[in-house]
């Protein structure tokens, strides 16, 4: 009375992603995307849409290519030597990997929050206004302060730091730092925010706060989040994508993935049946 057979847990050569990978009004689309590190292929033929204002979570075992996938979306992979992306990735119909595209602009539109909170060793104010300043988003000091407050408020940090905006951002607690990084990211009004395991360096309490924040942000932003915690994915996301050995196995509404996954591999991962 086992699952069909042991082999059933392995991938077929030609696989097709199970579930609802596509949507009607996509913010970003990926078609036949392969990613290579030098010779090593890290992502195989991924096809997926990310809808406007949805939170999509990427889960999967370690090394399955979640981070790689995420970083192709704002070309942070460019900084990795030997990384090559094939296939088509578009945002609002515009090809992200076309030579004409300026990555600086792209990254302003697709913000990113990293695993370890990485505030600049500057004041809280400078951290948040860094983006607006370099992009020339504010003409006056007043504009800048406005952006500052708005971003911090959105990141749920305003109340906690409003009295010490000129103290260094590195003096905040881990969770606050991460929210500062989020504030910094949203200060340039991106359209999409990518988060790579944003809570894995945080304790449960800070994690819970960030999760709250993600829920709130999802009203204004499209969010793609990588997480190693299935429960986190279950909590914060609308759709969940399961990666396995670089392949996108299943994409489905989160509730379904966690109660009734379609693919056996997803089921095996969700229920802890690997090894």
């Amino acid at each position: 009375m086992k699952l069909k057979s042991e082999q059933a847990l392995e991938l077929d050569e030609s696989h097709v992603t199970v579930g609802q990978s596509f949507c009607d009004d996509p913010k970003m689309t990926m078609r036949n995307v392969d990613v290579f590190y030098s010779d090593k292929q890290a992502i195989y033929d991924v096809n997926i849409d990310i809808a406007k204002n949805e939170v999509i979570a990427m889960i999967g075992p370690s090394g399955c290519g979640k981070s790689t996938f995420l970083r192709t979306l704002n070309r942070m992979n460019d900084t990795v030597e030997g990384c090559r992306v094939d296939g088509q990735i578009c945002m609002d119909g515009q090809d992200l990997y076309s030579p004409k595209l300026d990555v600086v602009e792209l990254r302003a539109r697709v913000g990113m929050v990293f695993q370890k909170p990485n505030p600049f060793p500057k004041s809280i104010r400078d951290n948040v206004t860094y983006g607006p300043k370099i992009h020339g988003l504010a003409d006056t000091r007043v504009d800048l302060d406005e952006i500052l407050e708005k971003s911090l408020r959105k990141a749920g940090l305003w109340e906690e730091v409003k009295d010490r905006l000129d103290q260094p951002g590195t003096g905040l607690s881990g969770g606050q730092q991460q929210r500062l990084c989020i504030a910094r990211a949203i200060a340039v009004s991106p359209e999409v925010i990518l988060m790579d395991e944003p809570c894995s360096a945080l304790d449960p309490i800070a994690t819970a706060k960030i999760e709250e924040l993600i829920k709130e942000l999802s009203q204004n932003f499209t969010i793609a989040i990588v997480t190693h915690s299935m429960q986190q994915a279950a909590r914060v996301s609308h759709r969940t994508a399961y990666f396995h050995l670089g392949k996108l196995i299943e994409v489905n509404p989160t509730e379904q993935v966690f109660t009734m996954p379609k693919h056996q591999l997803t089921e095996a991962y969700i229920t802890g049946r690997f090894g």
Binding site: K209, E212, Q231, A234, R235, F258
Partner: protein, 226 residues
Amino acid sequence: MAKMSFENHITKQFDEELEEIRTRLMEMGGKVEEQLQNAILAISDANSQLAEQVILADQSIDAMEVDIDEACILIIARRQPAASDLRLVMMVTKAVNDLERIGDEARKIANHAIILSEENESSVGYPEVRHIATSVTNLLAHALDAFARFDSDAAIRTIEEDQQVDLDYKTALREVATYMMEDPRSISRAINILWVLRSLERIGDHAKNLCEQIVFVVKGKDIRHC
């Protein structure tokens, strides 16, 4: 700690979700209570229309059960509740079952109300039904009340009430049996009354189950079958 709250989670979302299933359960309770009252009214007023209505409305209760159950499963999958939260969720998934059963019994009562209303106007068994119906309605009301306030003391009092209902039920049964023997023509009607009484008794039992669950949530003690 006879009362408790399910707020103040770090994740407000979690608070909301727990609150949500609670409210939905309360809502379902309200609905079920209404069904019960209507069914009883349908019998005492021989109002077959009302009875039809009750029968129809039962579907929405069934749907509520499925919905709340699903919500509970999602909470478990998402939040990994522990301790009181976990007890609450488990309680809710059991309580919906009881409520649904109460709804079913109400529908059955309504069914019998239709049959009874079609029959002659005899009032055999009505007093008994009325008496027990009042007790059971109170019982349910108290149970739901205890749940709303997570008041385990109230729940325990309600459980004791149910014993009285059981006694009354037995008396009523005996009386209806007497009617039957006294007047064989009323047998068919009396049987219907019997079923109604039985349904009321079951509703009392389910209300009692609810109360046991409440005690379980609040005290962490499983007092079923004690």
